[in-house]
């Protein structure tokens, strides 16, 4: 066995996990995530802050960043998420077919790779490209959530399959794109397929053997949602009996959507896991009267039992496809002179929410894009958005084209996660600045068939705001205590990459035209940029190896052309460094998306 830091960690964790009744996976992973030399989970840490304590790369020297190494994944299509780093080892994932690579950071050789066999019939039922947002690590294991819903545990040292569990059925439109997360002895995952009438859920599987521990649906009877009518609260009040059933016509909740394809965060002190649910099915609101609970909802659940502690529905009776799946970042901030344990959530509906994460109390709800017009404001007593009739696709009705609604269906922000710097107290948010015309139409549900029921057309928000601008995105800094934009950088294209904030007072994000950018955390001033091989929809991550801080990001957007030159240069370099059994694994022979890694020169 190689005597690497990762190896030793893994061995220690494996021993710990073997002890009966021990919950060391949590402690081990918690310790790994708190060590800024690692990037141990999607958000860096359980709070999803995407903040690193590392400061070797800082505001003054970031302009000297240069490429340290690159790795081509061999897969086309959009590359979301980012690599994990545990000690001396990096784990890289890809879009469908969801390959996994273990890379030795000492020399960038590949330790192992895992290529699952998946039915290509999964591809057509994935609504929005064949993306995958990344792996989870714990206990010497890598957890891979395949597109075809298979959840796989791999031995982190060898890549050998330890167990597989089937989480859904692609024939019914159920697929997965989310990154799983591990808490204690369980691994949590969700489901995609709101556009196919899939009923969303959060599922917890045992880390040890992959057996389902519990499943909590987003809609339906209380017991199936793991909701206690008396104890589960919304806006500090018990939700009451049959809170979901009463909010749907008939048994529409069975195909009600509320899928769970976003990011999950966790508070170890409160032992609560936080996530959001997606749109109700169909996109035609006229045929599904009611609040459609609990679609479009932030859930806070007990990580052990799955019981819901509190819920908050951002968009009751969605009429615009404003999925509520975006990440909930956990932070402790001053509000009105007192330190509050909050959760900050930038919803697709264009409101930035600050809630007390202990109780679910709504503290702040303000627009984080001035273009947002579908609601005037959120009523702070009821928590309900005050919908503007002119932009209500329901009130306008079926086969009526509701015009100039802001934001568009993709939201003021989609899944690309924001970052939070406790140093500046600011949240850094990649956004869309796009509006739409929306026309609902009648559609019948057929399992495994698209269940959309609306046609859309989209345009720059500047056309509605009438301010002469045509940028489709902004990168903003947000004050979650007051609900105000601190600064806003216009971007020609929407910003679909996850942000990173660091103790070096630098914030990183990627753009669709392929630039990785570094800006000043206080002022937003651009400090550095680099053109990667393709557009960036991945998350920027950072780690150290051998005392050097690295910044890494995947590039690669949809379609053949979107991979840039990575394919074009392939032929000539085949054979370079390709030896023996690892020929197929040589980084020189991988086509497709590219991980570009940066460091300061020696």
């Amino acid at each position: 066995m190689r005597s690497t830091r990762a190896g030793i960690f893994a061995a220690a964790l494996a021993l710990a996990a073997a002890a009966p009744g021990a919950a060391y996976a949590n402690d081990g992973l918690l310790a790994l995530s708190k060590n800024p030399n690692n990037w141990a989970m999607w958000g860096g840490t359980y709070d999803g802050a995407r903040y690193s304590q590392l400061s070797q790369i800082n505001r003054d020297n970031v302009r000297r960043l240069q490429v340290a190494w690159t790795f081509s994944t061999g897969v086309l299509r959009g590359h979301e998420g980012g690599p994990l780093v545990i000690g001396d080892t990096m784990y890289v994932h890809t879009p469908f077919p969801n390959k996994v690579f273990s890379i030795n950071l000492a020399d960038q050789t590949i330790n192992w790779s895992y290529v699952p066999k998946q039915d290509p019939d999964t591809i057509p039922v994935m609504c929005c490209d064949t993306v995958y947002r990344g792996l989870a690590y714990a206990d010497g294991r890598i957890f891979l959530q395949q597109a075809d819903t298979t959840l796989v545990a791999l031995d982190a040292n060898t890549g050998k399959v330890l167990w597989k569990s089937v989480n859904g059925d692609p024939k019914k439109g159920e697929t997965n794109t989310n990154s799983p997360i591990v808490i204690k002895d369980k691994v949590y995952t969700g489901i995609s397929g709101g556009e196919f009438g899939v009923r969303g859920f959060l599922a917890a599987y045992n880390v040890a053997d992959g057996k389902l521990a519990w499943k909590a649906y987003s809609t339906g009877p209380d017991d199936e949602m793991l909701i206690d009518p008396e104890k589960t609260t919304e806006m500090l009040k018990p939700v009451g009996k049959d809170s979901s059933l009463k909010s749907w016509k008939g048994d529409q909740w069975k195909i009600g959507g509320g899928t769970t394809w976003g990011w999950y965060t966790y508070d170890p002190e409160l032992n609560l896991i936080y996530y959001g649910t997606g749109n109700p099915s169909t996109w035609n609101p006229v045929v599904r009267p009611g609040d459609n609970k609990w679609s479009m909802t932030i859930f806070a659940r007990d990580a052990d039992s799955g019981m819901a502690k509190w819920v908050y529905q951002m968009t009751p009776h969605d009429e615009w496809d404003y999925d509520g799946v975006n990440e909930s970042i956990l932070a402790d901030i001053d509000i009105g002179g007192s330190k509050r344990k909050v959760l900050v959530h930038f919803d697709r509906n264009g409101f930035g929410y600050t809630l007390d994460r202990v109780t679910g109390e709504l503290l702040v709800a303000e627009k984080y894009d001035p273009a947002v017009n579908w609601a005037t404001h959120v009523d702070m007593k009821t928590g309900r958005p005050q919908v503007v009739a002119q932009y209500s696709t329901h009130q306008q009705g079926e086969d009526v084209n509701t015009k100039n609604v802001c934001p568009a269906a993709l939201g003021s922000k989609d899944q690309q996660p924001a970052a939070y710097s406790p140093k500046t107290g600011l949240f850094y948010v990649p956004t869309n600045h796009v509006c739409m015309d929306y026309e609902p139409f009648k559609v019948e549900y057929v399992a495994g068939q698209p269940y959309v029921g609306a046609t859309l057309s989209m345009f720059p928000a500047g056309r509605v705001m009438n301010d002469g601008t045509d940028n489709l995105g902004n990168f903003i800094a947000w004050d979650a205590a007051t609900g105000k934009i601190v600064w806003s950088l216009p971007e020609q294209f929407s910003v679909w990459s996850g942000a990173l904030a660091t103790a070096g007072d630098v914030v990183f994000y990627g753009t669709l035209d392929g630039y990785l950018k570094a800006v000043d955390a206080k002022t937003g001033a651009e400090l550095w940029k680099f053109k990667t091989p393709s557009g960036i929809i991945g998350n920027v991550n950072t780690w150290t190896h051998g005392g050097t801080q690295y910044i890494g990001v995947l590039s690669g957007i949809g379609g053949w052309a979107g991979i840039g030159m990575a394919a074009g240069l392939e032929g000539d370099t085949e054979g370079l460094g390709a030896v023996g059994a690892y020929k197929a694994l040589s980084r020189h022979t991988q086509l497709g998306g590219v991980l570009t890694v940066f460091a300061l020169p020696d």
Partner: protein, 121 residues
């Protein structure tokens, strides 16, 4: 002479003073992938590719080129995500088509004849 300049300008071939700002990385990337597409590295592929790039860079600034190129990538992205660009950039199709037309005219103006093996066509 002036007439000739005007004619060339209309044809879109003459260098405009404002452009020619492609950075080294972009030039190398363009030429290498162009050579690859033409069958590999040789002087027969180097010269037409350099010529093609010079012509494009003389018409478009690097920022304009990058935007048009990005649009052409996003155009092929499936579903709602590609839709945002097919829809939201009012002249997206026009810009993608203009870039393609510029490339084609540059290619046509940059042909380097290749020696043929006896008997080949």
């Amino acid at each position: 002479m002036l007439e000739r300049v005007a004619a060339v300008l209309l044809a879109g071939y003459l260098p405009l003073a404002a452009a020619n700002d492609f950075p080294t990385q972009a030039r190398v990337e363009f030429v290498l992938s162009c050579m690859q597409a033409m069958g590999g590295q040789s002087y027969d592929t180097l010269y037409p590719c350099v010529c093609e790039l010079d012509r494009i860079a003389s018409v478009l600034s690097y920022a304009e080129y990058t935007q048009a190129e990005t649009l052409s990538f996003l155009y092929s992205t499936p579903g709602e995500r590609g839709g945002i660009f097919r829809d939201a950039v009012s002249d997206a199709r026009k810009r993608v088509e203009e870039l393609e037309a510029l490339r084609e005219s540059a290619r046509a103006a940059c042909v380097v004849k290749r020696l043929k093996a006896p008997g080949s066509q």
